[in-house]
């Protein structure tokens, strides 16, 4: 997954793990996940050094993670590296991040709130 890695971004570790999960997922399950989410997320992350990087999680057509912007994202999210990690760890919830301005969203907000579910593949059940 070297094409997804980006030096100095903790986000890239999470995303390359996610890419690995998608890679190994059997086709039927991938379809199911795509059906459940049905959206293309474009995530622009700013790290502590002020550098920016963009990734795209496609859960609409292919079910994969790639680096660099896409033409037609359903939702575009801007956030810091740390915020992303907190979201992925479940330490921060999407709504709070959004309401406090830590997460900026353009496009379909409801879709954005599904991202933590996507990132957190293994979620405990009530």
């Amino acid at each position: 997954m070297s094409d997804i890695k980006e030096e100095g971004f903790k986000t890239s570790d999470v995303l390359s793990t996610l890419a690995g999960v998608f890679d190994k997922m059997p086709e039927s399950e991938k379809k199911n996940q795509i059906k459940k989410t049905n959206g293309i997320f474009q995530i622009t992350v700013k790290n502590a050094q002020g550098k920016e990087a963009t990734w795209v999680i496609d859960l609409k057509n292919e079910g994969k993670v790639s680096k660099g912007p896409t033409k037609k994202p359903d939702v575009t999210m801007n956030l810091s590296d740390d915020t992303f990690i907190q979201l992925a760890d479940g330490k921060l919830n999407g709504q709070k991040a959004f309401m406090t301005g830590a997460l900026k969203v353009k496009g379909n907000v409801m879709l954005a709130t599904k991202l933590d579910g996507v990132l957190k593949g293994a979620k405990a059940k009530l």
């Binding site: 690995g20 999960v21 190994k24 997922m25 059997p26 039927s28 399950e29 379809k31 199911n32 059906k35 459940k36 989410t37 049905n38 959206g39 359903d74 760890d89 479940g90 330490k91 921060l92 919830n93 999407g94 709504q95 709070k96 959004f98 309401m99 406090t100 301005g101 900026k104 969203v105 353009k106 496009g107 379909n108 907000v109 409801m110 879709l111 709130t113 599904k114 933590d116 579910g117 957190k120 593949g121 293994a122 979620k123 405990a124 059940k125 009530l126």
Partner: protein, 653 residues
């Protein structure tokens, strides 16, 4: 965590207040909130124990946390920043506060009493506590609220009673003392400016006196601190912490103004997303769709977000043919009680539901709602969510035909169904069910929130408005139950906990589970829910303890085993994680390897459904194996594989 988990605490927990005092550093706002407007013993909880140090810092604490930029006030306004009631008043307040804090007067009594009313309105009749508070507002009551403030993330209901009138004098005092103090400093230093300074000093002093006198007349008698009047140094010293706080406040203020300027952006974004033509299609519809690929097929989406009704597909249960319906029911319950295989139990329950006649129900003294509810609950425990939802929905359907006694079973059924929907990310459906629970069991609390629907979401200004109003309704209900009857209703607590959980407010959700556990200390479902909440809130280590407690009570609790695996996966101990998942899967395979069943030619369908039911488990197992760098085994980890493969690879389960 220790105090939380030890059995002793749970058994004495019939009084939730006891737990409150035991668990420091834990968000207690829910308890306090609920205890709030009641009378009698609950007042005790509000009364801080008087102690030396507390008295010593009293002068400072007379001026409580709040200030014109009262955060609690603000955050509630922000949380509801789009809502109709908060904004205008808040804007006005903000205006006043930011422009002219010095000249700010205590709010007119009318405003104050309005606040009282909004605080007391959930219980309609002002409780004795409120009366006591009104007369004793300067004393214990306020201290108590002040105490609960820092630990109270749930802000909207925190009363701001008494804050403003008591604060302003102090604040404006601070404002005017600053220039004077500076004048004092300059006075000694500069000979040339001395005269000017002297004059200025006199003027300032005079101003200060006038203002102060004016204030004193407005002040309420309890403001004894102000006796330090005239001794500026002393007052200045005493104000230093306040000044530091105000510095922070200034920082915060600039943050806020930035936020305010971003606000347009925020609403634009929200509106954009709500008004997009495809929001009903690609956004919500697909969010609400669930299931395992082809097997469940497509659901027609209704306005309430519920999946279209599907008849429950019974799995094959011919092996029970020799039993009578009542015997099957008894045996199913015996297995459940004794910790036998959940899959066997569901088979027996299904058989009972298929065979039972009216007489059987009457003989057992149960209803079909109860039977469906138990079947659904067992499926959920067995980590077969889609089956559970189907069974619960059948029960909900049966509920409509029921006349009497339905409240008794409806609560558990509906709450469990809502939780199943939450687990499948069918949030709107879960809200619909939680709303139905209120309508059915507590009709008086339904009025505060409209029935959740896709339409209502697109009508409202925030995607979370429905959720918020439902949460408010549950909270009001929980408070009223406690205030009027002194009870903690576990169903209501679980409903409230579910609502918090959906929003990712895991601390509040945890408190709800703990409150419910206080009533039902041996409810393994609740222990698992507590664990799941801790785990998803980023505390997998603590979660493990809760799961273990659940498994002590119910060793065959497949979901808790699965969750234990998830916690291990998140902690990074992949081997243990994989073994837990395998153990969970072996629970599912126990009945499909049942020779009697395999002999039956007709069971291909049930086997296929069985495979899909376990799909989530296999998927998570595969993650664990991938993380262990065992790609070959990960490849094997898919529905239908014999678990012996993994046993041979050295996994123990």
């Amino acid at each position: 965590m220790q105090s939380l988990l030890s059995g002793a605490d749970c058994s004495t927990a019939s009084n939730p207040l006891k737990q409150i005092t035991q668990r420091e550093g834990v968000d207690q706002s829910l308890f306090r909130d609920r205890v709030g407007p009641s009378s009698g013993p609950s007042n005790q909880a509000f009364r801080p124990i008087p102690s030396g140090p507390a008295q010593a810092i009293q002068p400072l604490r007379v001026n409580p946390t709040p200030h014109p930029f009262n955060l609690s006030h603000l955050s509630s306004a922000l949380a509801a920043s789009t809502s109709r009631h908060a904004s205008p008043q808040f804007d006005a307040e903000w205006e006043r506060a930011s422009i002219a804090p010095v000249h700010r007067q205590p709010p007119p009594p009318a405003l104050l009493s309005a606040e009282y009313q909004s605080w007391t309105s959930p219980s309609h009749t002002p409780s004795p506590w409120v009366a006591a508070f009104a007369t004793n507002g300067k004393g214990k009551g306020r201290e108590a609220i002040e105490q609960s403030m820092p630990a109270a993330p749930y802000r909207p209901y925190m009363p701001s009673i008494g804050y403003q009138p008591t604060f302003q004098p102090m604040y404006s005092g601070y404002q005017q003392q600053q220039p004077i103090d500076r004048a004092v400093h300059h006075y000694g230093r500069s000979e040339t400016e001395q005269k000017d300074m002297e004059a200025a000093f006199e003027r300032a002093l005079e101003d200060a006196r006038l203002q102060r006198n004016a204030e004193v007349t407005q002040e309420q008698p309890a403001e004894g601190v102000r006796e330090a009047k005239g001794d500026f140094d002393a007052v200045w010293e005493s104000l230093k912490p306040e000044a530091e706080r105000l510095n922070k406040l200034a920082e915060w203020e600039s943050d806020f103004s930035q936020f305010v300027s971003d606000e347009d952006d925020l609403f634009e974004t929200l509106n954009d997303s709500l008004n997009r033509p495809d929001v009903g299609q690609t956004g919500l519809d697909d969010q609400l769709e669930f299931g395992s690929g082809e097997y469940l097929g497509n659901f027609l989406q209704s306005d309430d977000g519920l999946p279209a009704y599907r008849p429950y597909e019974f799995s094959d249960s011919h092996q029970f043919d020799h039993m009578s319906a009542t015997a099957a029911w008894a045996e199913g319950n015996r297995i459940l009680a004794s910790g036998g295989s959940l899959s066997d139990a569901t088979g027996l329950l299904e058989f009972f539901i298929q065979q039972a006649k009216m007489d059987d129900y009457n003989q057992l003294g149960i209803t079909d709602v109860e039977a469906w509810s138990l079947l659904g609950k067992t499926h959920a425990m067995n980590e077969k969510e889609s089956r559970a939802m189907e069974a619960f929905e059948q029960g909900r359907k049966a509920l409509e035909g029921e006349d009497s006694g339905r409240e008794k079973v409806a609560g558990e059924l509906l709450i469990n169904l809502a939780i199943s929907y939450v687990n499948e990310s069918l949030d709107l459906a879960a809200l619909t069910i939680l709303h139905q629970f209120l309508t059915l069991n507590h009709p008086s609390h339904t009025t505060t929130s409209a029935a959740p629907s896709r339409h209502a979401i697109s009508e409202s200004t925030s995607p979370w408005a429905i959720h918020q109003s439902l949460t408010d309704a549950y909270l009001a209900l929980a408070r009223e139950q406690y205030a009027k009857q002194g009870i903690v209703d576990p169903d209501v607590q679980v409903g409230l906990g579910t609502l918090y959980y959906m929003m990712g407010e895991y601390d509040q959700a945890r408190d709800c589970w703990v409150a419910a556990l206080g009533e039902r200390p041996n409810d393994y479902l609740l222990w698992n829910r507590l664990g799941a909440t801790l785990a998803n809130g980023g505390n997998p280590e603590e979660a493990v303890d809760a799961y273990r407690r659940a498994l002590e009570l119910k060793p065959t609790f497949t979901r808790a085993i699965f969750n234990l695996g998830v916690a291990c996966l998140n902690i990074g101990v992949y081997r243990e994680a994989a073994e837990h998942f395998l153990a969970a899967l072996s629970m599912h395979q126990r009945d499909s390897s049942n020779p009697e069943k395999n002999r039956d030619g007709n069971n291909t369908t049930s086997n296929v459904t069985g495979m899909y039911e376990s799909g989530g488990l296999w998927n998570t197992l595969r993650r664990a194996l991938s993380a262990m760098d065992m790609p070959d085994l990960a490849e094997e980890a898919r529905p239908g594989t014999d678990l012996e493969v993994f046993r041979l690879a050295g996994f123990e389960f």
